[in-house]
């Protein structure tokens, strides 16, 4: 946009020197602004990513406590691989997380499409109900759900955990997908209908492909929220279904061992692998298409 500045009409007196000074001042101001933005952005990213770097670094620290470097060691990884309790926690968290994310995305897609494209009786009530768990404190939801399960006679376990996590996560999925669906031009759907598609056809051939980025985001976010969740998990988990955050919080009383750093590093590595394989491809595809659909 630097070129635009040169379109400024020349002022009446001292045209050559005056306008050159003005252009110089603009240039300096712009460059300084660019520099300031760049510096601030870099600082922000460093600030956000620094803890991750620290976690990775100190997973190789021999010392058991503190952030004092005493030597390189992979003993915490070894300990982690032999720690059955941790492995169970990881497994439970992953299974519940992926299942919750999947179900949440499916239901979120259906709900958001209905909310965005259809009018039906009780629509306002439906909208409110879907979003209500966002307003109710999680501990209230958790205890209520536990009491519900007990009364109904269900046993606590994977089912109750997934149900609880869904309760927490569905509103977020629905909101993300609602934004994505709303961003799809209705003219496309109408065109498809004109070409002979019934409503299922419109959904399958027009909406669904365009929603894939939104669904990916919803899946990722739902998984993250579910994996991280502590309050709901504490109350609705059953025997043999302790999630990873519960394990870590339980360790706090004795001091968290650096095994957790090793675990964190492995999770970061896994995330990077997933991101690099899918995300980079997405970005290059979008760039090649000349900025096609927005990555919601």
């Amino acid at each position: 946009m630097r070129g635009a500045r040169q379109d400024r009409p020349a002022s009446g007196w001292n045209v050559s020197v005056g306008s050159r000074v003005l252009r110089l001042a603009d240039l300096v101001r712009e460059r300084t602004l660019d520099g300031a933005i760049a510096t601030t952005s870099i600082m922000l990213y460093v600030f956000l990513l620094a803890p991750i770097v620290v976690v990775v670094l100190y997973s190789f620290n021999r010392s058991e406590t503190g952030f004092v470097w005493t030597g390189f060691s992979t003993s915490w990884y070894v300990r982690l691989f032999h720690d059955a309790g941790m492995r169970d926690g990881i497994r439970v968290s992953f299974v519940v997380g992926i299942t919750t994310a999947f179900i949440s995305t499916v239901f979120g897609t259906m709900a958001s499409y209905a909310m965005a494209r259809r009018t039906f009786r009780g629509r306002n009530a439906f909208n409110a109900l879907v979003l209500m768990p966002l307003v109710v404190p999680e501990i209230v939801l958790a205890v209520a759900l536990l009491v519900f399960f007990v009364r109904v006679g269900g046993s606590l376990g994977y089912f109750s955990l997934i149900a609880g996590h869904l309760l927490v996560v569905l509103p977020y999925s629905t909101l993300i997908l609602l934004a994505a669906v709303s961003g799809i031009d209705q003219a496309l759907e109408e065109a498809a209908a004109d070409l002979g598609a019934n409503s299922w056809g419109v959904f399958r051939y027009v909406i669904l492909p365009l929603l894939i980025p939104g669904m990916a985001t919803s899946f990722a976010l739902a998984f993250l929220f579910s994996f991280d969740d502590i309050v709901m998990s504490t109350f609705v988990s059953g025997v043999g279904t302790t999630t990873l955050p519960m394990l870590v919080y339980s360790m706090l009383r004795q001091g968290v061992s650096p095994e957790v750093n090793a675990l964190g590093t492995l999770l970061i590595a896994a995330t990077l692998v997933v991101l690099l394989t899918t995300g980079v491809r997405q970005a290059t595809v979008a760039m090649k298409k000349g900025g096609g659909q927005p990555f919601v």
Binding site: S63, G85, F235, V239, T241, Y249
Partner: protein, 375 residues
């Protein structure tokens, strides 16, 4: 392009699935370290238990992770063949709330002193049948008549610790005596208190010469005043990593539970744990059997297993928490036996109080604590 994206997404899912499978399948490789320690011949296979065929030969433990080491759970399973699972909770309050809401499936729980009282009052735990316990006499007399559960009616005390303070002598050269040192303006900005209402009031009440179990509103108000005054001097309220802050030197003096200081003090000889002269508090974690348990016999079998001196010693070695089992002391690793943050010398314990359950006190304290934190 669309197919490629789907393929990549599937690949990502498959990778995640493999990670899950890996974490599930890579099991059973850890050798169960049973009580073969100290070359003794009375191994765990000689556990005399009552008839365990009456139940499903399963056991579900719900406790503090780390306090009930996985090796002990595995050892018990190997010794008796009882399928054992372990689940973790993060606070006594969660435990009580969950059991109170009606959660079932747990057989043995691991409450602290005042939580035993609460659970007993709510009729959530069974009164122990002492005839089924073998080796109850191994428990030191100090723990047989604990204030919160006289005669060990409801719970078997198993590890104990204290709440006191720790300091780094690199920065503090004067002798540290008690809670009053946490209010010393000379250390302003380098003091950390536990982020725990009960712990904070233990310090503030004892500082003012009151009992930690008082219900007297004036005494509690005085303690609240002390906490408010202290807030300006604090670095933070922190229950998660006071040990690290101490080692790094950001904190010079912290209020702490003994169990969280032990490993830090072992690493760093400048760190010392002190039970304050005003008394400090002394807590006991116990094992109790849930009323709705369907594996009561297995629960007794577990209790009998850990009452054995060698196993109790192993618990201390692994968790670095002091065992209540006096017969176990000779078997405990020497460096832990002599560690004053684990086994606090008896003479210093005489002033220490045990925190008891009191809803009257909680109501008064809760509102005040919120005020202190909010200011």
């Amino acid at each position: 392009m669309k197919k490629r994206q789907i393929a990549l997404a599937t690949l990502a899912l498959v990778l995640t699935g493999l990670l899950v499978a890996f974490s599930a399948g890579c099991g059973g490789s850890e050798a169960s370290t049973t009580t073969a320690a100290a070359g003794d011949t009375t191994t765990s296979t000689a556990v005399t238990t009552t008839d365990t065929t009456a139940d499903n030969r399963e056991l579900h433990i719900y406790g503090w992770r780390g306090e009930i080491p996985q090796e002990i759970v595995d050892g018990f399973q190997a010794a008796t063949g009882i399928e054992t699972t372990f689940d973790a909770f993060d606070s006594n309050e969660s435990l009580v709330a969950k059991l109170q809401s009606g959660a079932t499936g747990y057989d043995i729980v691991n409450p602290s002193g005042y939580a035993v009282q609460q659970l007993a009052q709510l009729d959530l735990i069974l009164a122990l049948d002492h005839s089924k316990l073998v080796g109850l006499d191994n428990i030191s007399p100090k723990f047989r008549e604990v204030v919160y559960d006289p005669g060990n009616k409801y719970a078997l005390p198993w590890v104990w610790g204290t709440t006191g303070l720790a300091y780094n002598d690199e920065f503090i050269k004067e002798p540290i005596e008690g809670w009053s040192d946490l209010w010393n303006p000379a250390y302003s900005g380098h003091i950390v208190m536990l982020d725990n209402m009960l712990a904070a009031y233990i310090a503030a009440l004892q500082l003012n010469g009151f009992s930690i179990n008082t219900n007297n509103p004036e005494e509690i108000a005085k303690a609240t005043e002390s906490l408010s005054e202290q807030k300006a001097l604090l670095l933070s309220y922190n229950s998660t990593n006071q040990g690290q802050l101490l080692t790094q030197g950001q904190a010079w003096i912290v209020q702490a539970w003994s169990s969280s200081i032990t490993s830090v003090a072992a690493d760093n000889p400048n760190i010392h744990y002190v039970l304050p002269k005003e008394g400090g508090s002394f807590w006991v974690d116990s094992l109790a059997i849930v009323k709705s348990s369907e594996n009561v016999e297995s629960a007794y079998a577990f209790m009998n297993y850990i009452l054995q001196p060698e196993v109790a010693a192993q618990i201390t070695d692994l968790s670095k928490m002091a065992t209540t089992n006096q017969a176990a002391i000779p078997f405990v690793d020497e460096k832990y036996r002599n560690d004053p943050s684990i086994f606090v010398p008896v003479d210093r314990l005489s002033n220490a109080e045990m925190l008891l359950d009191s809803s009257a006190q909680t109501q008064l304290v809760q509102a005040d604590w919120t005020k202190v934190r909010a200011q």
